[in-house]
Structure formats: structure tokens, C-alpha cells
Amino acid sequence: MDNHPIVQHIPRLRRYARALVGDRYAADDLVQDTLERAWNKLHLWRPGSDMRAWLFAIMHNVFVNHARSRRYEVERSMEALPVMAVRATQGDHLELQDIDRALGTLPVEQREVILLVAVEQMTYEEVARALAVPVGTVMSRLSRGRDRLRHLTMGSASQPLKVVK
């Protein structure tokens, strides 16, 4: 079972869910609900097609379907961030939890696009397929989301965002 392609994608689904939702447990709830649906719909997946895209599309649907019930909406907290990332912020110009918090204030549609592009490193076409929207919509969400994130994390536009590795 551990070799099943679905299982191999779990870490990436968790990373995306954590960034999307913020809270560790709410994020894993989202992953669990996504996996449950994926296992039940496995017969609908076309062998040979991109399983990552299929799983991310399912996660998007699960997330959007529960948006009204606010099931996964929990206050973003420091605890949500992986230990390593929090540690890495010490002494840095950029407080990494700042970008997490800033991300949390973006509309969900912009957050999804930014994460799929930046973290999941999908092409715009892949993002469009996962979210079932036209590529033009992806581009406008990306553009608006990035503008907003830039202003939120930098305060003034003069200070560049720095990450000390």
C-alpha cells in the first residue's frame, strides 16, 4: 500500500493544505477528507494521467465545498508552521510567520493560485486544470495576489523581501 501513488503524494498534499489552511490539524483534516474521496473515486482516475493534478483538484473541491461550513477555518498560529521554518526565522529580516499570516489574509482564490505556482511549482495550465478555471483567471488571481502579498509583507515597497537560508 505504501507504494501506491496516492500515498506517495501525501506529503505534498499536507504541505499545500498547511499553507492553505494555516492550522496543522485543520490541514490534516482537509488531507484526510481529500484522501477518503480519492480512494473512493480511484476508479475514475485514468491510469497514465497526472495523479498529482487529480489529487489537487479533489482537494480544491473538498476545500471549496466546505468553505461555507468553515470547517477548515482556524486561526493561523505559530504552531502551524513547521519547527524548522520557525527556527530559521531567528535573526532573519523576514519573519517567516509574517508571510504565513499575510497569506492567510488573502482571498482563498488568490492563496490557492499563489501556492500552486510558488510552492507546488505548477505551470499556469496545470493550476487552471486543478482549479477548473481558465488560464486568464489564474493569471489575474496570481497578479492581484502577488501585489497584495508584496504590500503586506514589505510595508513600504522599498525594502526587499529577504530570506536568509
Binding site: 501525501i10 480512494w39 508571510i99 505556482v117 510552492v119 499556469y124 493569471m139 515597497a157 529577504k162 530570506v163
Partner: protein, 250 residues
């Protein structure tokens, strides 16, 4: 790409341009510092986001996410559809067009009944069995007595399945024993043992796909055996072969 537009700049920041595109955008950015600054901010943001969330990849995955969840199909709907299919097939089986009474034969009825029983009981969370595996001796003795034979409960541990328990059911020819097995991820198999009417006879393994439930079944003397599971034919055959070997030691 004479003058790159915003989409090109984003694609550049995200590393989605080909070599020519990259050169084009870099030439443009060299002369447009404000755009160059935006693009740099986007790239920094990408890096910051990856830096923030990538460590999640290295966290151990919680156990609740790695276990394949028990099937949540609607057992009663499937049982009903199987019964309906059974009625339809039974009707066709009576037709003179069929030289062989395939669908209406007792053997295929066995497969169908076993699949229905599997669909009804295997998704049960609290009451999948009447007698749990902890009382295996009692279970086997009880079911043996009701079926009027000496039943053996196969051990499928070598294939990763452990006994959940068993229950008594009623079949068209009287009492039926159902043993249930489960593997580490919750996939369940049931072995259905029924008495057969008429002269004792034996058949080879036969396979039947009853909706989502795969069934291997065979008749051995006065008893019919059917192993059901929601899995591929090949996987189920492996288990069925082991069951058969254990019930018929050479």
C-alpha cells in the same frame, strides 16, 4: 516577444519561460528598474513560501492519513442492485437461448448470494461479525454444528489477513457460515460456506464479478465455497488458492 507583458514577467519569475523568453525578459528588465523590482519581489516571495512550507514534506505523516479508509459505499444499495441483477440474470438464465444454464445455475447463485452477504456485512464497523476471532474455537464449533459438517477456518496470515470473526446466515438451502478476514489497511474478505442440494459434486474455481465485489467460488462435495472481496481478480485468486489449499490438504 517584442515587449514582455505582465504574464511574461510572472512566467519569468516562476521559471516557466524557455531560453529565448528568458533572454527577452532580462533585456527588458535591464531597462525597466521598476518592473525588475516587482519581479525580484515575486521571486523572493516564491522562495520565502517554499522555505516556509517545504519542511512539512519532512514531517512524519500522521497514521490517520496513511491508512486506506474502509470503503464507504452504501452496502444496502449494492446488495439491492445485486439482488436485482440476480433476478434479471435468473430470468435470462431460464431462456431457451442459453444452452448452458449459466446464470441460473446453483453455482452462480452461490456467487451472487456470497457477494450480497459480503456487501451487507463487510462495511459494518461495530457489528461485522456475531462471534469475534478471540473465540475462534467456539465460532468454528458452532458453525460446524449448524452446517452439519466439520468446518475449518483457513489461516490467511501469510497474505496479511487476520480473522475478524464469523456469523451464521440463512441461504436458500439452509444455514450458511460466513467468515470475515481483514488486512492491515482494513480491506475485508469474506468466505461464505453453504450447503448444496442434490448429488455431491465438485467444480473447479470459477470467477464472478458482482458489481464491485469479486468472487471466486467452487463446490466441493455437499458444500459450496465463495470468497468475496472488493479487489482485483489476481489478488483475490491468490487468497482463494490459499483458502482452497488449506481446506483440502493433500
Amino acid at each position: 516577444m517584442p515587449t514582455p507583458d505582465d504574464a511574461d514577467l510572472h512566467a519569468y519569475a516562476d521559471g516557466l519561460l524557455d531560453e529565448a523568453g528568458v533572454a527577452e525578459v532580462e533585456r527588458y528588465l535591464a531597462e525597466h528598474p521598476a518592473d525588475a523590482e516587482r519581479v525580484r519581489a515575486w521571486r523572493d516571495m516564491n522562495a520565502a513560501l517554499r522555505h516556509t512550507y517545504n519542511p512539512v514534506l519532512d514531517e512524519p505523516v500522521p497514521e490517520r492519513l496513511t491508512a486506506r479508509p474502509p470503503r464507504r459505499w452504501r452496502p444496502y444499495a449494492i446488495a439491492a442492485s445485486l439482488l436485482l441483477a440476480g433476478v434479471a440474470l435468473g430470468w435470462i438464465g431460464r431462456s431457451a437461448f442459453f444452452g448452458l444454464p449459466l446464470a441460473g445455475s446453483p453455482a452462480s447463485a452461490l456467487a451472487r448470494q456470497a457477494a450480497v452477504a459480503h456487501a451487507v456485512y463487510s462495511p459494518e464497523v461495530r457489528h461485522p461479525v456475531e462471534v469475534w476471532a478471540a473465540q475462534e474455537d467456539h465460532l468454528v464449533a458452532w458453525l460446524s454444528k449448524r452446517l452439519g459438517t466439520h468446518l475449518k477456518c483457513p489461516s490467511l496470515a501469510t497474505l496479511g489477513y487476520t480473522l475478524v470473526g464469523g456469523r451464521l446466515l440463512s441461504g436458500s438451502n439452509g444455514p450458511v457460515a460466513q467468515f470475515m478476514f481483514q488486512d492491515g489497511r482494513g480491506t475485508r474478505l469474506t468466505l461464505y460456506v453453504s450447503t448444496q442440494k442434490g448429488d455431491p459434486r465438485s467444480t473447479a474455481f470459477r470467477f464472478s464479478q458482482e458489481d464491485k465485489v469479486a468472487v471466486f467460488y467452487w463446490i466441493d462435495g455437499n458444500y459450496g465455497y465463495a470468497l468475496s472481496g472488493e479487489m482485483s481478480r489476481a489478488d483475490l485468486l491468490q487468497v482463494a488458492t490459499l483458502v482452497y489449499k488449506q481446506l483440502n490438504p493433500e
